[in-house]
Amino acid sequence: MSTTAREDEVLGATTGLGSDVVLEPVSDEVGVRARGYWEQVWRRFKRDRVAIGSIFFLVFVVLVCYPGAWLAERQIGHSPSDPFTDGIDDGLIPVGPWSKVYNPFTDEDQILVLGASDTLGRDEFLRLLYGGRVSLQVAVLATIGVMIIGTILGAVAGYYRGWIDTIISRLTEITMAFPALLFVIALASTVGSRLNDVTFGGVLAPGVVTLVLVFWAFGWFYPARIIRAKVLSLREKEFVEAALMTGASDWRIIRSHLLPHLAAPIIVYSTLVVAGYVLAEAALSFLGVGIPLPTPSWGNLLSSAPEFYTSQPWLMLWPGVAVVLTTLAFNLLGDGLRDAFDPRSRL
């Protein structure tokens, strides 16, 4: 291995966090290769057992919500939207876990494993599984979109400053001041139902696209402001000056020199908003935007549960636990990723 080759690898590594580059001890006998940026990230990440556990948990949730829900429905013999007359008592209270209900279509008694979910006596277990699909779709897609838009606008505003910054900053303020709820209600009564039908061939649940667009439209400004502030500070650093002096283009500086430094705030903010979007989905569905009835979601299961907090507290527990564990998994995964991307942030 020639010295030139080793220098190339060093140069390659500096496209990421230059300060994180580790050169293996050079031996005259054995050629040692410097690790690339992504390789180092991966090495650090896989040492974080909690983060790896979170990934396994999220994969488990996806498996449970997709093939699992489908299998459970076929195994149980009714759909998550089938109402059961005897799934409620005469006081309109849903029956508890492991209750037997009569299915008039199959002429058989069936067990509601987690009890009935609402005053329609529907199966909480199946609604929880199917609800996870909607919530994951909404939360993940909304977060990704919001972070992409916010990061791009924030980075551009912070890097270029001047009139570009002025325009983006005013746009941010206008969006922050915009009466989002009124817009959402107007959206619901105009194009809402047409957007609800966009499911990309059944890949997404009805209404997910509407919600995701709403969240994109009104959720980008927070990350944009965070990223802008961070970039304003970073662009004065020496490594950016050095990159400029070597003739690097603006796009290359933003992508290769600034973006890696933004990984930590992006990840931290992303993990925080994921859970927020699960709950926001329920609120917007209440206003008639988004998930149409009778499609279940963790958000609408949670929002209807407090009505029965004295009689069937389980109904708050199931979706609550699902949201908490999933959010926790995203948070821990985010922590792990942040540490992997920027080990200096681990204090």
């Binding site: 109402p83 007359t85 005469d90 309109l92 209270i93 139902s193 008639g288 009778p294 009689s311």
Partner: protein, 546 residues
Amino acid sequence: MKGRFSFSVVMALLGVSLLVAATAAGGTTGPSASDKQAVKKGGTYRILGTSDFDHLDPALSYFTHSWNWQGATQLRMYYYPYVKGAASQRIAPMAATGLPRVSNGGKTYTITIKRGFKFSNGQNVTAANFKRAFDRAVNAKLQSPASSFLDDLASVRTQGALGLQITLKRVAPDFLARITMPFFSAVPTSFPLDAEVDKGPIASAGPYYVQEWNKKTSALAVRNPNWKNNVEPFKSLGFANNVDRITYSGIGGDLATHRLQCERNEADLCGFPTTQAKELADKYGVNKGRFQVDQDLLVWRVDLNNEQPLFKNNAPLRKAVLHALDRRFMTAQHGFLAGKRTDQFIPYGMGGFKEHDIYSLKGPNYAKAKSLATPGALRGGKAVFYAFNRAQGPPVAQSVQFNLKQIGLDVEIKLFDRVVQNTKAATRGEAFDITHEGWHADYPDPANFINVLLDGRRLQAENNVNTSYFSGAGVQNWTQKLDAAYSASGAERLNLYAALDRDVMANAAPTAPYISGTSRRLFGPEVGCYVANGQVGTVIVNICKT
């Protein structure tokens, strides 16, 4: 009716309708205070409600809880007496000396006002004060809901200080019933013809008057200092007027909290979550003082839009829908003791109601429904349902959605705030196929259901209450039959309305009534007795606290 109407959902939310008992069942009373302790004079009657009043000006007030206050604060010429039994069904004079003298072939009513009533500001009540109420009601600028009840009014004239002559364009057997509504209460002649009076104190001639109204916060009514229970003309009315003050608060609050406040004696009348009705019934017993249930003149229904392509001239599909609905389940969504299942338009307890047994009340009859819902009748098999987003709105809509899916009709539910849903459904040409509505009688006459809600000649561009947009298709000579029933009186009138009810539901099926509702009330521990009235709800003037 729109205002009262919208509020009827809020009332369902409250779990307590402040509206009242059926006339056939008569006004009902709670346990006598004498059974417990002596009635206390003085004190405050504390009402908790989640919604503010729409108006307290009698010309505009139309929410049910607003009428509850009108009952305590306003002086009307006639009213449905605040008593139990058959007497509560017979219109009686309040400010009038007796029943009107009817002349001119039934088109002219001459009424004499009793001498001695006074407004809270000290002015005497004269015929001019009632004329003012009519003048304000028909003033286009004021936009009083009362105007829709006066389209047959020709003139109102005073005859001296205490005489009032009302002339109609045509004979109207329900006219006397109409003027029992609080719209036609005496108002000071200083009340503007074209503007609302909404700043307290609001002068009125009833036993109490509104001293304060802090919008979206609270209201306070106190005794009319010029109302003397022990002398005529007040004495013969027999109002108890036990409490000194009436308060209304809790606006924007939570029903579960309101319930707790009543249980802790922090209030005297409260709402409660629908799902807690059974618990309250178990805890206090039904009609044993704290948790009171009275049959009401209220029907909830699912309207099928007869002007949109899906249901227009499509009686087979409309009937299929009525066979497919699970009325037991839909009724259950209103909570424990919320009412009886029905498939008829006229509510239980109202004159003209007869049991016809047209559709199944036990559960869906899918076999019959599927036989009617042929591919031709289904017309593509898609329907849009306008539902409201609170209380029983979403579950009833989903129950209908599930039932209709079984006969091949895919229902898309669109949720709105109740006011928005009601406004949209009331707009002619709005693109919905099904909507969820309730109707409480303004006065106990079947015309207030059949003629008001199913006469296509009343349809207009906006603010319709006939939200099935039914004009009579499917029933032979519908409008002639409507007019004949409206003009008739006595037993014949009731028989004709009973026949209309059967005809329209069996042959045209423009709408799907499913529950004939009750009023459920939760009282605080100090309330010893009450009277329920068909128009004004809990009769505040006769409330007794112990």
